[in-house]
Symmetry: C2
Subunit: 219 residues, 2 copies
């Protein structure tokens, strides 16, 4: 059974993996906030459990088992976040840190019960998909708001970043998942976008913000 530390490494590996499931040691060290020698020794440990393939001086490669293991931890994380928001009244900006701990609890029934109580949600409070019990993830291809054009109407569907600071920025503007935005104009100079949505007749969103907002085009 994976230790909490190993579980956190697996999650990072999963999130950093490219299309060939490769991850560089330096990226992983940065993500985990540990030194490269620490990662070097940990990947050797993870290899013993067949969660990844390690060869000197090459990026490590997550195995299918490693991916599944990681996805199941991410499942617990996202179910927890959704439970905290939907059933316990937390704000979407408060749940990540708690889920970071709860995800390591070994009690299948606990998470199954959450899942049932919520009616088997498919996304977490930040719009990220919840892997199923087999560790499969349904990928949805949203558009970034920064790639939209003036005149389009879109619905805010997910975020590419869920830091507390960003979530509080969105709270301050009453922006939440499901909000319908009408794109009024786009400034050629700095790529900022002016949007209209319920109770907000004109909000300007910087490119930095727009690129983190994933949307579905309505019309």
């Amino acid at each position: 059974m994976a230790s909490q530390t190993e579980e956190n490494y697996l999650k990072s590996l999963f999130n950093l993996a490219n299309d060939k499931n490769e991850v560089n040691i330096s990226e992983l060290a940065a993500q985990m906030q540990v030194s490269m020698p620490t990662v070097n020794s940990m990947v050797k440990t993870l290899q013993k459990n067949d969660w990844l393939i390690y060869e000197k001086y090459k990026p490590v490669i997550l195995t299918p088992q490693g991916k599944k293991e990681a996805a199941l931890i991410i499942r617990k994380h996202r179910l927890t976040e959704m439970f905290l928001v939907n059933k316990m009244g937390f704000g979407w900006e408060e749940v990540h840190e708690i889920a970071e701990q709860v995800e390591h609890i070994h009690a299948p029934k606990f998470f199954e019960r959450m899942d049932e109580m919520m009616g088997f949600p498919t996304i977490d409070p930040h719009g990220s998909p919840i892997p199923d019990k087999q560790g499969r993830i349904q990928e949805i291809n949203y558009l970034s708001l920064s790639d939209c054009k003036a005149g389009q109407t879109v619905i805010l569907a997910a975020l590419t970043n869920s830091s507390t600071e960003f979530l509080e920025f969105l709270n301050g503007r009453n922006l939440s998942l499901g909000t319908e935005l009408k794109i009024r104009s786009k400034e050629a100079y700095d790529q900022s976008i002016v949007v209209t949505y319920p109770d907000h007749s004109s909000e300007t969103l910087s490119e930095k913000v727009c690129e983190k907002l994933l949307v579905k085009v309505v019309e």
Copy 2:
């Protein structure tokens, strides 16, 4: 901040402590299921945090800080058990193992929210008191069913043992907290007691069972 291991030792120390807050190394080793040298080294560590007083060849003594720290972990454990039963539909026999893990989560708001949602309960699903936020415990002096006499009517209020096996034994007889029991007779030979309660006109309970059932005398 206490590690999970330290927190588990503190809980055991709290539960084993006598009226002078003393605990023997051997008892603690048995409770924690580790060797005595392991306990010996851990108590030296706990002493550094001023959670207990250690002197060679003497029983260790929990300090007030140690007691408080322990009580606050027990608070999280019992709040969790109650939440699992009252808000998530678990049986009282399923919750201890989950709470054993959840009690180590560092997220005051998480437990405060549970507390609020349940209306600030004072006992857990097994009748044990929930320490308050200051780590104070209200002790209730229940009577053991084994000390009751024929003719008395009592209400099942708590258990001195909450093992899954015992809880399943009670489930099998529809015995739960709050059940009103009329004591029909007590066998002098083996101290077994015959009781009557809703839908059960005559159940015989062995002394082994009776001594684990804590009751309030109704009349």
